[in-house]
Symmetry: D2
Subunit: 436 residues, 4 copies
């Protein structure tokens, strides 16, 4: 993708090759994990750059060769490393507590620059180093639920990634039909909100009244970090099928609908990219197409169906009042082909959905993660759309409901502040009516 | 230079513009420094990205508008900020000392993620943010000698830059006559070892038997960080004039002479770039031109003249033995046009020079900084060249002596280790003879 | 595809727009064809560039809007134009015959620079002009068989294209998985020798042991003119299915098999591109992969089946001798699932095929056009492969036979000369044996 | 400059290398010119592309090695070739005269596709072929005045170049401070209207209120064909010194002044590029900067001084009437430092200049070539500027007078037509007043 990037990568490979000749690996004996740990220790201690790159490559290559169990073992070994540093940190911290001056503060910083951090920073010199470290965190996150002791490594990686993937270092690119097939293939693979079934399907999403933007990092080549798909429409679209089938050739388009946002790298979970991407894209579209006045998402109500089922089954009837029996109809399998039932459940479902999005909270924030994301970005909960996603998945997940979150540039800042500061949610009159 | 980079920068500008409309600056009153501090506090506290970028731009713009005294005042204000955090760090550190577990460790990390760090990370989102922060450190370093209280800020910036300018994120580019004029102009400006007098002079250094390589960072556009100039020669060149005047059209070239290395950004002082660059370039040349077998610098003996003068004047005669009187001849102004004197002083000067480079130490390392750099890279002190730089500056600085440090790929690793571990210097037989 | 090309194209559009404002089209009345003819006359006579480009665009746009009948009528009008010039040419030619000097020669040249040529050269200034003129010839070629009077226009276009598409102006590009989707889509569309069924199928043909190269013209943007697909194999492959299914992950590859060559632009029929492309690609591969020693096609025997049927039915028995009855077996539908029949017909079919390729001639050249192409390039008829293409189409077209034409760089020049000069064919021992 | 172009060029080199191995040059004996002619004959007759490219390269290389006398001899040999074809052309022409049908017409075309044309078309396949052929015409044009017998070759080359350099194939690029130094160096070299003294001077001409555009041809790499320098000003500038010294930092710019147009390739003399370039650039600027309303040249009155001297000396007094004596003052050396004389001669000189530009004609067109160029483009003679170019050269060439030719998009078409059709010149009221 990037000429120069490619050149550099080759050089890293060559330096690694050169270094390798002088890298005496004959002394390494033991299990793959032990050998890898030995190499890691060398990588941390060696200061020579030549064998540094070669060592980094060796570490990276061997890590990739480990199976799942070995990776777990490797991570566990790593946690031991940090434990061995705790006593040192403690000593330095005590020192600082007794004599809190600039010098002892710097010592404290230094003691906290643990071997982990050194290890990951050194590994980053290897060819494709950044990529491997991102993948390493992906592996780690998979193991974490059952191995909470690995949390310390994740904490470190998270700190590192927050700096590495600072928005100021990311690169926004438009994706279209002139993009490289290798990149487009990744878009197909990473799209999970509304599946892309074929290249023809993909082309449909890159035509004249569509936009797709992705964030890249210079060290990750043509691997997108996150991307968003946008439809340009007349008025705020209320159905994802209309968008996906690209049915209307509309004139006088005035709205940009963000209908799919996808994180691509599991290893970057929790590193904030989406909010920044949306605002970059809003700005880019506003600049390219001055006629576009409204910016809105068309988002799923992920998990609404499950939540309702659980709530009804656990007998939280007071939530639903007299609608309880009507709502139960929608819990039946295949309720929706019946127009009579559809008519009956429509209003109750939409009311409950509004309620779910606005009033169901955890730690003072909405339980629904999509809502949390958009509220935190300063968007307004604008409209709940009946039959907004009539696909099988859409029906099962949220009774076909889809939601528009509106990005009004004049209000997002204040919305954001009220949300962050006081937990207040920005909701439209429309939604207020549903709630009353 | 970079299409996409340019695109992104524009977007940042636009986002900042958009944000600015909603940025109410009317509440800010006071001196420029006070207003700037207020904005910085907002930038740190605000989490909204839209006005975040606008705020970041405002901070950056106002910083650039400050005069020298105001910048000093601003830095001093900043140091107060951290002092205000010390008590919190202390509290958290105490907590950690008493209950040293993962959780309290994370709290310690968090407390050390000071407002400085937040500030610089947020400023980095502004258009050209990275550049301004690098320049800010340049200003800071200028003030530091007289204002040691600013050291804390520098410590933080140094930590940040070490991550940002990790070799894995740098991009190596070859500079030649097809490079953009805007880049070449910078090469002319930043070359301080052997001045480039004109574009014609520059072109001479980019011809077929010359190479020039520079490191760039994706967020700094076409600003080089460091560059090295290389001459391809037959045998290890001993005179910089021969190289600069490009006199010999040699065949059977077997050597790459690194005759000028220049750091371009004063704000990156102390961030290690040079050792890595040299090794990258060695590898690149070895790949491009398999006939090149030897890699050597042709380096100045910066400060040798001053040192000798001081040493003789302070009467450290035992250093020089019976050569003392001959050496004094070289301290006369304009000694070198006289062939008789030249003949007399040649040997004594070269012996003293070898002595100076090898035996004059401070903290166990050579006092000469150029020597330190190359020894630390694993190079060998190979040869001292009489009349290696016959320019006025060369004569004044080091009696015209120049030094070759040899990079032998088979030995640099072990040389480096011996130097770092035991302080042993790699020196050639040639030099040993001079010393004996 | 090409930044600058894009820029220029836009400019052409803008100039055309600018010109259009001052282009008074109100005087044009009549049928679409008459109006177009009037515009063409203006385009030829006007010398002003501003309305020249606008006029050229108008001509191009109107031509594209014509239906098939109108295009025919337009071409017929054009032929009248040249007829009107014949008398002038005749006069000038007479003049030249009487006074054959440089001046009268130049007049003759001038008279032959007919209005056609001017028209097409002026049309070329329109945005996408080159593309439209190539498509215009495609239309013309379709009509030509039934309208031989249009031959004169085709003769002129052929002369023009031979200059425009001089090999020195073409650009060779490698097509791979990093190419733009818009280009790859065209490769899928234009591949007619061995159909590409899907994007997955395409990707298979662009993997590590495959190559694809195409010729482009700077004025035709990302429209390929011709492309060739290559498989890198161990030994000279004898079956196209092995290649298409990419079954063997071979080591020690020593051969490049050209298994599909496709002309993309019908409007460029007869303009020689293929021979040049093959030699460019041979050179490119030889440079990239020194281990590749052999270059060969794997080509169909297009029309062999039809020829044999006709020959047998018309009773040309002496051609086949005693094999006649066996051969008749192969004319039965669905003969090949029967292993007994297959065994019986194999040898006779291969013998007849060799005979067909080598001895069946028209105007002293082989009747088989694929054979003509390769012989004329200096290739050697190397081998006939039984079941070389077992697809339905392959069986129907040539009883599944496929042929290797070998490109031996040491012999192609002399082969070519013998073929062109004396009509001698280069054939291998193998083939000679079949023929004896 | 162009990645792909570079790739292709390399391939051509490689093919040429490959071909060379099989190119037996041992048979060639004789003077360099004879050997070259033999090779040319082979290049024309050989149809094999492989040795075709090698032969083409050999021809090109040997041509470049010839000295001036040998080149002349070579051209003379070439003219003999065409003479040998005359009898054939004559025969075919006779045939056509007797039976003027499509077939005999095609034969006539064929006979006129002389060996020259074949030769140049084949030479074009060599690496850098196009460049060498353009340079060959440059050599030819230099010899032509003394060797009119070479005219036939020039006629052929002119015909070829008119097709090769059709505006539809040219590429417009903006030149700025980010352009490659190698290209900028050529701009410095080719600027002859207003000399560029240094790189600093060049940079001045590429700043924010300046534009520079050049035409390139895809086969000529980074060699510009023609370029124009533009200043954006407030009002129509009347002095070239103001522009060159870039003195005023003007606001409200509304005018683009074309102050220097330079043809770069002498070998393309007479191939129309300038008119097209101006209109492309007008359009490009109009699109980029909608605030620019006026487009005008600031042009020299080349040769005015010489003409006036001759006219006065030859006693054509009636042209000047009573101004004759005043005008004679301006013929004195160093008249202009004297303010009194300046005041006296100003009006008479401007009147005579207007007269010279408008009324002095040859073949019905103005004798002044710059005027011819702009009138033919549809521009209006707008203003004569006193002290428009106060440089030594400007004073000597035209008494410091400079002229604005105005490009008013609403009138250029009709101006052009009146000029071409009836020889009418478009002149402003201003000029009319001077003439009355």
């Amino acid at each position: 993708m990037n000429k120069i990037g490619y050149f550099t990568r080759n050089i890293f490979e060559s330096i690694a090759d050169t270094g390798e000749k002088f890298l005496d690996l004959s002394g390494f004996r033991g299990t793959p994990v032990q050998e890898l740990m030995d190499l890691c220790n060398d990588l941390i201690s060696h200061k020579g750059i030549v064998s540094g790159i070669a060592l980094a490559r060796e570490v990276v290559t061997r890590y990739k060769a480990l199976n799942d169990n070995e990776r777990l073992a490797f991570f566990q070994e790593l946690t031991l490393v940090i434990e061995s540093e705790i006593s040192n940190i403690k000593m330095v911290a005590e020192d600082f507590v007794h004599h809190p001056d600039e010098e002892s503060l710097q010592e404290l910083y230094k003691s906290l620059r643990t071997k982990y951090r050194k290890l990951f920073n050194r590994m980053n010199m290897a060819p494709n180093g950044t990529e491997v470290i991102v993948d390493l965190r992906r592996d780690l996150l998979r193991l974490l639920p059952e191995h909470p002791e690995l949390k310390a490594i994740d904490n470190e990686l998270r700190r590192i990634f927050t700096t590495w993937f600072n928005p100021g270092f990311l690169v926004l690119k438009r994706i279209d039909w002139n993009s490289e097939a290798s990149v487009l293939e990744k878009i197909i693979r990473y799209e999970t909100v509304h599946n892309i079934g074929s290249w023809k399907d993909l082309k449909q999403r890159l035509v004249e009244n569509r936009r797709c933007f992705a964030y890249f990092h210079p060290s990750l080549g043509d691997e997108p970090l996150i991307f968003v798909e946008v439809a340009l429409t007349k008025g705020i679209a209320n159905s994802v099928q209309t968008i996906l089938h690209n049915e209307k050739e509309e004139k006088n388009r005035d709205t940009a609908i963000f209908y799919s946002i996808n994180n691509c790298q599991r290893g970057l979970k929790g590193i904030p990219l989406g909010n920044f991407l949306i605002k970059m894209v809003v700005t880019e579209i506003a600049k390219e197409l001055p006629s576009i006045k409204y910016f809105s998402s068309l988002s799923p109500v992920t998990g609404f169906s499950d939540w309702l089922k659980t709530a009804i089954n656990s007998g939280e009837d007071k939530l639903f009042g007299e609608d309880i029996n009507t709502l139960k109809l929608a819990l039946q399998p295949d309720w929706y082909p019946d127009p009579k039932i559809r008519k009956q459940v429509k209003n109750p479902l939409m009311k409950v959905c509004a309620n779910y999005l606005v009033n169901q909270k955890k730690n003072g924030k909405p339980v629904n993660s999509v809502a949390r994301f958009h509220f935190s970005n300063g968007a307004e909960l604008y409209r709940i759309n009946w039959m907004g996603n009539s696909s099988k998945h859409g029906m099962a997940d949220s009774f076909g409901l889809m939601v528009n979150y509106l990005y009004d540039l004049r209000h997002i800042e204040i919305n954001h502040e009220r949300y962050t500061g006081k937990g207040e949610l920005a909701i439209s009159r429309n939604i207020k009516k549903l709630l009353s």
